[in-house]
Point group: C2
Chain length 129, copies 2
DNA sequence: CGCCTAATCTTGACTGATTCCAGAATAGCG
DNA sequence: CGCTATTCTGGAATCAGTCAAGATTAGGCG
C-alpha cells in the first residue's frame, strides 16, 4: 500500500498503517501505544508525521467530531459517515441513507465549489442509552 | 434573551451575546476581541464561561469543523448546515437541501438512538476558487 | 431601599494535543 | 556499495481551553 502511494517504506510507517487498520477510529495516542507494542522506540513525532503522510496519500482518513481529538480510520474511498455517542464518545460507521451521495447538493451553495459532504450523526450508543 | 433562558444578566454576558450576533461564525478569540471593544477588562475566562452557558441554554450554537477551533453562531433552532472553505476557512450557512431533516435517517443506526444529523460541506469559497 | 447568598468574574497557573526544529539515521536510486 | 533526499529522534515550544481560589455582583427578600 505504501509503495502504491509512492511513500517510502519504513518500519514506523508500516506499524502506523497496520495500527490504523487494527484499531478503527483510534485517536493518535492509542495509535502511538499500539505502534510501540511492536516498535517501542518510535517517537510520537514520527507517528504524527506518518499519519499526516498517510492522510495526504488517502490511505487513511482523519475524522474529528466536535470536542474530540483527531481520530483515524483505514476505510477510505467509500461514502460512509459516522455516529458519535454523546456520552462515551464511541464512533460507529454508517452507510449513507439516501443512495450514494445524499445531501451532496446544498440548496444554495453561496458560490462555493463543493467537493465533499460530511455527515455526523449524534446520539447515544446502545450501552449508554 | 438571557432572562428568558433563566440566566443572570451581567455586562460580560450581554457583550458576549451581542458579539456572537454581530459576528457569525467567529472563534473565541475574535469574540474576546469584540467584547473588549466595549468592556476592555473582561477576562478570557468569563468569555469561555459565558459561551458555555449560552450554548447550554441554546441561545448560541457551537460549531467546530475539523482542524478549526470552536466557533459560535446565534442562528439556532432551525435546521441549517455549513459550507467550509478548505483554503481560507470561512464558513457560510446553507439551508438543507432535502426538506426539513435530510439525512436524519441513517441506513443502519447500529442500535444508537440518534438525535441530530450534522452536515458539513467542504469546498472553496468564491474568493479562493 | 439595602442586605444576603449563590452565581459570576478575575487572575494566574496548568494541561494536553499538536507543531517546530536541528541533528542523526536510513530508504532506495544509480 | 555509496550518495542524497527523505524520514526519524529528542526536546522545546505553542495554543486553545480548563482549573481553582478569592473577589465581585445580580437579584430575591424583608
Amino acid at each position: 500500500m505504501l509503495r502504491g502511494a509512492a511513500l517510502r517504506v519504513t518500519r514506523p510507517r508500516v506499524a502506523v498503517l497496520s495500527a490504523v487498520h487494527t484499531h478503527p477510529h483510534a485517536d493518535t495516542d492509542s495509535i502511538i501505544g499500539a505502534v510501540r507494542r511492536n516498535l517501542p522506540d518510535v517517537s510520537h513525532q514520527a507517528v504524527y508525521n506518518t499519519l499526516h503522510a498517510l492522510t495526504a496519500a488517502k490511505l487513511v482518513r482523519r475524522i474529528q467530531p466536535s470536542g474530540s481529538v483527531a481520530r483515524y480510520e483505514a476505510r477510505v474511498g467509500d461514502n460512509h459517515h459516522h455516529i458519535v455517542c454523546r456520552t462515551c464518545g464511541v464512533i460507529a460507521d454508517v452507510d449513507c441513507a439516501v443512495g450514494e451521495a445524499p445531501c451532496l447538493e446544498a440548496s444554495d451553495d453561496n458560490g462555493f465549489s463543493i467537493d465533499e459532504a460530511e455527515v455526523v450523526f449524534w446520539g447515544r450508543c446502545p450501552g449508554c442509552s
